[in-house]
Symmetry: C2
Subunit: 363 residues, 2 copies
């Protein structure tokens, strides 16, 4: 992109929405007054970056996103700090991962600096939308969709990169209270060589059926096992998983079929910083259950941008139930949650360089 | 649906498009003047079936289809017969498969009779669009997209069922001439327990990267191996595959990770009708190559609605090339192609009950 068409145009909404009450936000239900959009064509590459009023996307019914699922997304959050500032958590890592997803899904690369600049300007325009009640934040959803209107399986020649934002409360109704997890031994989310490592829409659609079945039996989420042997622990819904076994924290290694979570990486860094032993390795469901049976499984939790830390209080694998940490939030889970959310909201110092302040001079 | 809201409303286009030349149709590039749309909500289920001018779909940027890929589709064809009639090929089988895809992707079931009635009315309205040049047809694309505008991974509460139609020529530029196929031994399309059996968008996006790499080396398509061991033959791009080995035709059995192609099923029935031995079974790439090396691999072809029969003239597996049937279209492949397209266009009698005539009294 040349400097000229790099400039972001801004069209302000003349019809501001009423903001929802901060204690009733839910997750991903309300959206701010504006959105960011940028187009891609083979000839012009990424062009026409613009902030517009939040509005419908208008697509030909033959647009490839509907038929061949060529789409990727990200999820990150902005927080209000105590002194009224605004900060993002590791945005560069999200856009770097977005480009890894783009590569896997044959979507053209995005300039990370352009994406971050776009996001910061969008946040500046919609800064009034960032909630400040404890536990709330502004959830940010960048995504790319394939818009070329021809049928036939091939990479699209046209795309839109869009950012929408939603003020959110807790992702799970349970909040920081433990969730119950169903271990899936029939359905598979992803397999090595597939697209499990990419944040692409199809991975989530593939999970729905199993998730619905688990919900009907009272479980909040599904724990996926590997697609080849149904033996090794992968991840949960939209969270990576950690288990404290006999004083050591274990999380499945990045094997190509699970998402490289940014919260996951933050937790690993934090544990190392605290000198808590942490291992990224292959972990079988049998080993985990054995630890549960012999009393060495001390804590379990999921990690993800939406829920931050979500303690796991109970698991069910082929009918065998495992109650973890007596079904209450473990000590370490709580410390990680407090520290991470503290850093995210500016209440706790950030020795890792994770936080990025957002300038909002223009608002 | 009650009888009242079952009635399809028709809004005719006042702005008819110019039709493309029949010898320059390509595939999925031009669309007819009208489309069919029906809505779903939890309260009203499927409702408001309507034929409208072909027009853009307008969706909230948070619509679940963009983020979580909850979408399914079908592909079938209508043909002009010599006497000016119109016929569909096995439409009930396509809509039955659509419902199997719906079930896997947690999309609400469709009434097959309603879907077929909708399609027939749409064809009647756009009957002038069905080309009659040999090798051409009207490609029909029914699809369902999740439209609920909330983020959070759960089945949508709203959907649209849409049918669009495109007059088409050959799917591959090669037509009935043999294509070259790259055997993929690194990337994986689908695995048992996943969604490979469903006709859902994410399966196709997952294939793009491998397909692009193959294209760059001069191969038209990719042959997928199983996701667990990378040993057993699955299918090609959007085709099932058949191999004639020592007089017997072998095709991979439906194992849960490949699509149950309707052309595949038709070919099997046709071969049985002809008393040609046909086997649905596990077939390893090693066994196939061994047959190629020792001269017993006589023919290979892909089957699918788009290409009908596409002979395979060459394969490449980890650098080892296999030329099949001297790179020309085999005798059996040609007979199957002629018979199937003959039945589809009404030139050959249909002893199988595959063809469905379309009434076009109103046009
Ligand atoms: C499949 C999957 N795993 C894990 C995560 C956690 O990743 P992160 O910590 O970057 O939010 C997410 C959510 O982004 C996800 O969708
Ligand atoms: C993945 C895949 N396999 C096979 C086929 C062939 O199926 P059919 O013969 O029903 O068109 C298709 C096309 O529909 C497909 O998309």
């Amino acid at each position: 992109m040349t400097a000229a068409n790099n400039a972001i145009s801004i069209e302000r909404s003349l019809n501001k929405k009423t903001k929802p009450a901060q204690d009733q936000l839910g997750f991903g239900i309300y959206f701010t007054d504006h959105m960011f959009v940028m187009d891609y064509s083979v000839e012009r590459e990424w062009h026409n970056p613009r902030i517009t009023p939040y509005q419908p996307i208008v697509l030909d019914p033959a647009a490839k996103v509907f038929h061949y699922g060529q789409t990727i997304f990200e999820g990150l959050k902005a927080y209000k700090t105590e002194d009224g500032g605004i900060q993002l958590f590791r945005p560069r890592d999200n856009f770097a991962r977005m480009n890894r997803s783009n590569d896997r899904m044959s979507v053209p690369e995005l300039d990370i600096d352009v994406a971050i600049a776009a996001l910061e300007q969008l946040i500046a325009v919609d800064q009034d939308w960032i909630p400040d009640l404890p536990g709330t934040s502004l959830y940010i959803r960048p995504f790319v969709i394939a818009t070329q209107a021809t049928l036939g399986v091939s990479p699209s020649e046209n795309y839109q990169f869009i950012i929408i934002m939603s003020p959110v409360g807790a992702y799970y109704p349970e909040g920081i209270n433990p969730v119950k997890i169903h271990v899936e031994s029939h359905y598979v989310r992803a397999v090595v060589g597939g697209v499990g490592e990419a944040k692409t829409a199809g991975n989530y659609a593939a999970a729905l059926k199993s998730q619905q079945a688990a919900k009907e039996e009272g479980y909040t989420q599904v724990l996926w096992l590997d697609g080849t042997q149904h033996k090794y622990i992968e991840e949960v819904g939209s969270m990576n998983v950690f288990f404290k076994i006999n004083g050591t924290v274990v999380t499945p290694a990045l094997n190509g079929s699970i998402l490289a979570g940014i919260t996951r990486n933050s937790v690993i860094q934090l544990l190392k910083h605290w000198d808590v032993p942490v291992e990224e390795r292959v972990l079988s469901i049998e080993e985990l259950y054995e630890a549960g049976r012999n009393g060495t499984l001390e804590e379990a939790f999921g990690t993800g941008t939406a829920a931050v830390i979500s303690p796991i209080g109970e698991m069910n694998w082929n009918g065998e139930k495992l109650v973890i940490s007596e079904g209450v939030t473990g000590q370490l889970s709580k410390s990680i949650y407090d520290t991470l959310t503290g850093i995210q909201t500016g209440a706790v110092a950030d020795p890792f360089g994770w936080v990025k302040k957002v300038e909002v001079s223009e608002g």
